[in-house]
C-alpha cells in the first residue's frame, strides 16, 4: 500500500525520532534535578523522598504495564469469544 514515491513525513526519518527522544530525556533530567533546586512545599510524608514524584511515576507505570501483561494470560480471549457458544 505504501507508495515509494510518497513524500517523507516527519517521523519517517530515524534521526528526527532520536532528536525528539534526546530532547525528551533532557527534559526528564532537568525536571529531576529541579527537585533539588526548587523548594517544594511538603504536605505528605512521602514527598520528603527526593525525586519522589519522578520515581513514583516511573515505577508505577512499569508495574502497571507488567501486571497488565500478566493479566493477559488469564483474561485474553479471541475476538469472537462471546459470539460462539460452546
Amino acid at each position: 500500500m505504501q507508495d515509494p514515491e510518497e513524500k517523507q513525513y516527519l517521523f519517517d526519518k530515524p534521526e528526527n525520532v532520536s532528536r525528539l527522544l534526546r530532547g525528551f530525556y533532557l527534559i526528564c533530567g532537568i525536571l529531576f534535578l529541579l527537585d533539588f533546586v526548587l523548594h517544594r512545599h511538603i504536605s505528605i510524608i512521602w514527598e520528603k523522598i527526593p525525586g519522589f514524584y519522578a520515581l513514583f511515576g516511573f515505577v508505577a507505570c512499569v508495574i502497571l504495564v507488567l501486571v497488565a501483561k500478566e493479566m493477559r494470560k488469564f483474561l485474553m480471549r479471541k475476538e469472537d469469544y462471546y459470539d460462539v457458544d460452546e
Binding site: 530525556y25 526528564c28 502497571l64 483474561l75 485474553m76 480471549r77
Partner: protein, 566 residues
C-alpha cells in the same frame, strides 16, 4: 426570549420533534441553535432559586429547581450538546439526531429535577433515548450490546423508583436533597446511582456498549449518563465515606484493562471509569474543596473525554477501523486530528495549562487534607496510569507507532470545528481556571498553579512517559493484539448462559429418563395383564373412554334426579 421558568429540557424535546419532520439546512439550524439558545437563556435569564412545578393528579412534579450546582451542570450539558451536534452535523440518520436531542434534554431534565419522581422519569428517558445511539450502528453486536445496556439502565431506574417510594414512606417527602445511606431507601437509591456511575462490578455496561455506538453517538454518550450520576451523587450522598473507597478502586482497576485493550474506544471507556473515580472520591470526601473538585472535574471531563471520543470517532469514520493493532501512522493523513487528539490527551493526563490539571488537583489536595494518605497514593498511581493508557496510548497507537499504510483524508470540516472548540476550551480552562472556579457551587479559595504542584505533576508525567519509552525500547510493552479481555460481563454473558444451558439440558435429560421409566412400567403392567386370563372376560376388555364418561354422567344424573324426587 422565553420566560425564566421554562425547564431547559423543553426546547430540546420540541427540537427533537421538529427534527423528525425537517431536513437539510432547516434541520441543521435546529440542531445547532437549540443548545446555543437554550444555553444563552440559562446563562442570562435564569437566576438561582428558580422553582417550577406542575401538578399531576395529586402530585407536584418539580420540573425545575436551580441552584449553583444544577446550573453548572446545566451550562455544561448545553456546551456538550452543542459540540456533539456540530460533530454529528453530517449525519443524515434521523434516528441519531432525534435521540441525541432527547438524550441531551433528558440529562438537563434530570439535573434540574427537584423531586425523586421527576428524577426517575428523566433517569429512564436517558436510558431509552441513548440506547438508540448504540443501535444506530445497526450491527448484530451493537444490537445485543444495546439490549444489555438497556437492561442495566432500566434496572437502575427500577431501583431508583423503589428507593424513592420507600423514602417517601419513611420520611413523607420526595424532595431530591441529601439522602444518605440511612435505611433501605438510601441504599436502593445509592445502588441506582451507582449503576449509572459505573461502580466496580456494575461498570461493564459502559465498556460493553459505548464502543459499539456510532462514531458520533459515542460522543453524546460520553457526555451525559455518568455525569448525571455524578450530579445525583453530589446532591444525594455528599460526604458518604464509602464513596472514597469505591472511587479509589474505580480509578485503579480500569487502567490495567486499558493498557491491554485493543479497541481504542474501549480504552477510552475504561479511562472514563477511571476519571469518574476521581469525581466519586471527591463527592465521598465531601469537603467544599473536594466537592468543587468533583464537579469541576466532571465539567472538564465532559469536554476532554468528548474531544478524545471525537478524535477516535473521526478515525473510525475515515478508516472504518478502531483497533490499535490495525491503526498507526495516521498523523500523515490526519495531522489536524492528531494535534487535537494530543490536546485531549494532555488534558486528561492533567498536564499543567490543560484542563484536567486544574480540577484533578483539587480532589488530590482535598484527599491529603482529610488524611487519606494511602488512598491518595492509589489516586497518584491512577494519575500516572491515565497518562500511560489515555495520554500516550491513544494518540500513539492511532496516529504514530508503526505505519499501518492507511492513507485517508483529514476529518470532515464539521468534525474539525467541533474538536477545535473542545480543544480551545481545554486549554482555556486549563490556563485561565478562574472563570470555571467562579462558577463552582461552593466557596473555596484555591489556586492550582504553584511551584510544588506544577513541578510534582510534570515529574510524575514525564517519568511515566519515560517508562513508556523504556518499556517500548526493551520490547516489554504488550503489543496490540486482536483480542478481547474478559471482565465482569463474563458472569452474565458466559457463566449465566452456560448455567442456563446446563439446567435446560439436565431438565430435559431428567424428563426423558422419567418418561422412559413411566413408559416401561406401564408397558410392563400391560404385558402382565395381557398374559393373564383377565382380558378374555367381558369387563376385562379395553373399553373406550367415552363409556366411562357416559356412565359417570348417567350416575350423576341419577343422583340429581333422586335428589329432586326425594
Amino acid at each position: 426570549m422565553w420566560m425564566s421558568e421554562l425547564p431547559p429540557f423543553v426546547p430540546f424535546f420540541i427540537a427533537a420533534l421538529l427534527v423528525l419532520f425537517t431536513r437539510g439546512l432547516v434541520r441543521n439550524a435546529i440542531l445547532l441553535l437549540t443548545p446555543v439558545l437554550g444555553g444563552l437563556h440559562l446563562w442570562m435569564n435564569v437566576p438561582e432559586g428558580t422553582l417550577m412545578s406542575v401538578s399531576l393528579l395529586d402530585y407536584e412534579l418539580i420540573l425545575m429547581r436551580t441552584d449553583r450546582l444544577s446550573l453548572l451542570f446545566g451550562y455544561l450539558f448545553h456546551i456538550a450538546a452543542f459540540i456533539a451536534s456540530v460533530f454529528a452535523l453530517h449525519v443524515r440518520d434521523n434516528m441519531q439526531n432525534v435521540s441525541g436531542l432527547v438524550y441531551a434534554g433528558s440529562a438537563l431534565g434530570a439535573v434540574f429535577a427537584g423531586d425523586l419522581i421527576t428524577l426517575f422519569i428523566f433517569w429512564e428517558l436517558l436510558a431509552i433515548s441513548s440506547v438508540f445511539l448504540i443501535w444506530a450502528s445497526r450491527t448484530n453486536r451493537a444490537i445485543h450490546a444495546g439490549i444489555r445496556y438497556l437492561l442495566f439502565q432500566v434496572a437502575s431506574g427500577v431501583l431508583l423508583l423503589a428507593g424513592a417510594l420507600v423514602h417517601y414512606y419513611q420520611t413523607g417527602s420526595l424532595a431530591f436533597d441529601f439522602i444518605g445511606l440511612e435505611g433501605i431507601a438510601g441504599w436502593l437509591i445509592f445502588i441506582a446511582f451507582g449503576i449509572k456511575c459505573a461502580f466496580p462490578f456494575l461498570h461493564n455496561w459502559l465498556t460493553d456498549a459505548y464502543p459499539e455506538a456510532t462514531p458520533t453517538g459515542a460522543v453524546f454518550l460520553s457526555a451525559f449518563t455518568t455525569k448525571v450520576a455524578i450530579y445525583a451523587l453530589a446532591r444525594g450522598f455528599p460526604g458518604t465515606e464509602l464513596l472514597v473507597y469505591i472511587g479509589a478502586v474505580m480509578t485503579c482497576f480500569p487502567i490495567f484493562y486499558a493498557v491491554i485493550e485493543n479497541d481504542l474506544r474501549r480504552v477510552l471507556a475504561y479511562s472514563m471509569i477511571n476519571q469518574v473515580g476521581f469525581m466519586v472520591c471527591g463527592v465521598g470526601i465531601g469537603t467544599a474543596l473536594a466537592m468543587n473538585g468533583a464537579v469541576a472535574h466532571a465539567f472538564n471531563d465532559v469536554i476532554f473525554k468528548g474531544l478524545l471520543f471525537m478524535t477516535m470517532g473521526a478515525v473510525l469514520y475515515r478508516t472504518g477501523k478502531i483497533n490499535g493493532s490495525d491503526l498507526g501512522g495516521l498523523y500523515k493523513s490526519m495531522p489536524k486530528t492528531a494535534m487535537l487528539c494530543i490536546v485531549g490527551a494532555s488534558s486528561i493526563s492533567a498536564f499543567p495549562l490543560f484542563s484536567g490539571f486544574v480540577s484533578k488537583s483539587m480532589v488530590m489536595t482535598a484527599m491529603i487534607e482529610e488524611g487519606y494518605d494511602y488512598l491518595w497514593l492509589m489516586l497518584l498511581f491512577a494519575s500516572a496510569g491515565v497518562f500511560h493508557h489515555a495520554g500516550i496510548k491513544i494518540p500513539y497507537f492511532a496516529f504514530f507507532a508503526h505505519d499501518s499504510g492507511i492513507r485517508t483524508q483529514e476529518a470532515p470540516r464539521n468534525m474539525l470545528i467541533a474538536m477545535s472548540i473542545a480543544a480551545i476550551l481545554c486549554i482555556f480552562i486549563g490556563s485561565q481556571p478562574q472563570y470555571l472556579y467562579s462558577l463552582l457551587p461552593w466557596e473555596v479559595d484555591y489556586w492550582p498553579y504553584d511551584t510544588t504542584h506544577v513541578l510534582a505533576q510534570l515529574q510524575l508525567l514525564f517519568f511515566s512517559a519515560l517508562a513508556f519509552v523504556w518499556l517500548n525500547k526493551q520490547g516489554l510493552y504488550p503489543p496490540e493484539l486482536h483480542s478481547i479481555n474478559i471482565d465482569v460481563e463474563w458472569l452474565y454473558r458466559k457463566l449465566l448462559p452456560a448455567i442456563g444451558r446446563y439446567a435446560y439440558r439436565s431438565a430435559s435429560q431428567l424428563r426423558d429418563s422419567l418418561s422412559g421409566a413411566i413408559r416401561i412400567t406401564l408397558q410392563g403392567t400391560q404385558g402382565v395383564f395381557q398374559r393373564s386370563q383377565l382380558p378374555e372376560h367381558y369387563l376385562g376388555g379395553s373399553w373406550p373412554t367415552g363409556y366411562m364418561v357416559m356412565w359417570t354422567a348417567v350416575i350423576l344424573g341419577g343422583y340429581l334426579l333422586l335428589d329432586y324426587i326425594l
